[in-house]
């Protein structure tokens, strides 16, 4: 196997609160190959978004990178300087956030915000950069880009704003695009279009994607491999089809079973949904042992006392005492 584009190895992210230090994420390890789409799935507070921020060098206090390494293209970047991060962000790594209105500058026309990428990272002149910004808008299928480059973010719809974000993120042809819940704020039919656009452009340019979402179906649909996070740890990582067909961790199995799936009722009649008991634990009170144990139907004394180690699977891994 050739060297991966991104390797996250045993990453720990710490949270300081009231003089105490908590691990908001720990032992996070995954690799993304060149041009590969990789999904990180989990509920709010599981640590998926801060993992993405760490890969972008955007963690700010009270969050910080603890132990572990982040390697991009052979370069260790977890403790890179602010200047190096500014070079990397935009040119090597692009990012799309959930709410485009808060990620875009409301006081600057969108064309200028795209053009800035070419000026900062590729030493283009402003006039050349504006021409290229218009092309970039055309590529993300914004109608009449020659007029739209002069628009301010508030003049665009949610879907159009997210297209502008994609144009900015992909402007310098980065090797990796990080998309953190890119369509959660959008309507379903618009979501489908944005996902198609994003995956299509990345496939054409050979850009790898780190897709972060709470929607297992969405991620499994567009990514080759998927990792599921729960309470700060990756509990399972498998190819997308296997996550649904043969989930190995009780949490993943619970998630797959608990969602009403379109077409199920017609086939099998209305079945009572399988519930996952209990609630998601908070960062300051993660349970001892396996963090899923209070909600797990199969928990034993071992699960309550000892944190499970990773068990290798043919193409992935699972972190559970009983499902190795």
């Amino acid at each position: 196997m050739s060297a991966p584009l991104l390797e996250v190895d045993d990453l720990h992210i710490t949270l300081q609160s009231d003089g105490k230090v908590f691990n908001a994420a720990e032992q996070v390890s995954f690799r993304i190959g060149r041009g590969e789409a990789f999904g990180l799935v989990g509920e709010s507070g599981c640590g998926k978004s801060i993992t993405a921020l760490a890969v972008m060098g955007l963690l700010r206090r009270p969050l910080a990178v603890g132990r572990g390494r982040i390697v991009l293209d052979g370069e260790e970047i977890q403790h890179a300087s602010a200047a190096r991060w500014r070079e990397l962000r935009g040119s090597r790594v692009g990012m799309i956030f959930q709410e485009p209105m808060t990620a875009l500058n409301p006081l600057s026309p969108v064309g200028r915000q795209i053009a800035e990428m070419f000026v900062l990272h590729q030493n283009a002149s402003w006039s050349e950069a504006m021409d290229r910004a218009e092309d970039a808008l055309r590529q993300v299928q914004v109608p009449s880009p020659e007029r739209r480059i002069k628009d301010y973010p508030h003049q665009l719809s949610g879907g159009m704003r997210q297209r502008v974000m994609i144009a900015i993120a992909l402007a310098c042809q980065p090797a990796l695009l990080i998309a953190d819940e890119p369509t959660t704020a959008l309507d379903v039919t618009v979501q489908a279009e944005i996902i198609d656009l994003m995956t299509g452009l990345c496939a054409a340019k050979g850009t790898a994607i780190l897709m972060i979402s709470h929607d297992l179906g969405l991620v499994a649909n567009m990514c080759r491999r998927v990792a599921v996070m729960y309470a700060g740890r990756i509990v399972e990582s498998q190819p997308a089809e296997a996550i649904f067909a043969t989930p190995r961790h009780p949490y993943t199995r619970g998630l797959v079973d608990s969602l009403p799936r379109l077409g199920e009722r017609a086939k099998r009649g209305r079945q009572r949904l399988r519930e996952i008991a209990g609630v998601v634990p908070s960062i300051t009170a993660f349970p001892a042992g396996c963090r899923f144990n209070p909600r797990c139907p199969e928990a034993t004394d071992t699960c309550r006392s000892t944190a499970p180690q990773v068990t290798r699977l043919p193409d992935g891994f699972v972190r559970c005492h009983h499902h190795g």
Partner: protein
């Protein structure tokens, strides 16, 4: 056939927006000629994207937004002739965000007992008894009664929201996106609870949601709205197994499909472009700019809701061609 519990007839809700000095006053047709009914004990799923008018429709059924035209009657009587108290005993609402819809300064007991005292339950023991009974019904413990909303998790707060809606024993409950603000692993608990309570208390629901998986699971009948109008209506099987409006098909095609069950027909059904503004909807069929089946006729002539089969109606000129 049972007498409908709720009848909405040719309902329109228009808002005037803008100002006479800046560009003139324009009419926003949030709901434009909607007809539907809900029978006792039935769940009607109401599907559509933001701005389609589903929440305005819910608010006018609650009597919170006066209709511009048309009639809404509950239990055979028009709601404009009923006073607020009478309406509150028949129809209640569960909101999307359990963090925002509970009063942070009231204990659960007060949130649940206040409606009872307002509606004439004067005996304190009876109020207490009914509060405890309701807490148990929604899966909370009696000792939760003296806690404040911030002491609960999101799922528990939604249970409180449901308890508040049911404490007056209404016959119709409008659930507006009841699970979309909750963590994914909590949603099944709330969906199961809503279904249990429906059977146990003989409730009718209007379930507003954009999550088609949930709508298919819970609903008996489904109505699909687009820009203020109902574009298709039918039983859950008809809507999900034999959709006739291209917008319904586009909604189904937009659901991520990890099993690749989709065939070419579904891929073709995807909608393009964005939802038009309700201030300036396209002429003819409102869906025509995004429709893969658009023809000349769709640009000029607005289709009306016509029967496809008994109880299944679609507002499309091509409702009989399966695409």
């Amino acid at each position: 056939m049972a007498e409908p519990l709720l009848q909405v007839d040719d309902l329109a809700v228009h808002f005037l927006v803008g100002s006479a000095l800046k560009g003139g006053i324009r009419t926003l047709k949030a709901v434009d000629g909607v007809r539907l009914d809900v029978k006792p004990g039935e769940c009607l799923g109401l599907v559509g994207e933001s701005g389609c008018g589903k929440s305005t429709l819910a608010l006018s059924i609650m009597g919170l937004v006066p209709p511009t035209r048309g009639r809404i009657s509950l239990g055979g009587r028009e709601i404009s002739n009923q006073d607020r108290m009478e309406r509150a005993r028949q129809v209640q609402m569960v909101f999307q965000d359990p963090y925002a819809s509970l009063n942070p300064r009231q204990t659960v007991r007060r949130t649940l007992a206040d409606p009872l005292s307002l509606h004439g339950v004067t005996s304190r023991t009876e109020r207490d008894h009914r509060v405890m009974d309701m807490l148990t019904k929604v899966g909370l413990r009696p000792d939760h009664a003296d806690r404040y909303p911030h002491e609960f998790s999101g799922g528990q707060r939604q249970r409180i929201g449901i308890a508040r809606a049911l404490i007056l024993q209404p016959r119709l409950v409008i659930c507006d996106e009841p699970v979309s603000a909750l963590d994914v692993s909590i949603r099944a608990q709330i969906i199961n609870l809503l279904l249990e309570l429906k059977d146990e208390m003989g409730l009718a629901y209007i379930l507003i949601s954009h999550d088609l998986g949930v709508v298919e699971h819970v609903s008996d009948r489904v109505a699909v709205m687009y820009l203020g109008r109902i574009v298709e209506q039918g039983s859950w099987q008809e809507i999900f197994e034999d959709p006739r409006h291209p917008y319904t098909r586009a909604l189904i095609a937009a659901i991520p499909d990890p099993f690749h069950r989709a065939d070419a027909r579904v891929a073709r059904a995807k909608a393009h472009g964005e939802i038009a503004s309700a201030l300036n909807p396209p002429p003819g069929c409102h869906f025509n700019p995004r429709c893969p089946m658009k023809a000349e006729r769709c640009l000029v002539e607005a289709p009306t809701l016509e029967p496809v089969a008994d109880g299944h109606r679609a507002a499309c000129h091509f409702r009989d061609s399966t695409g």
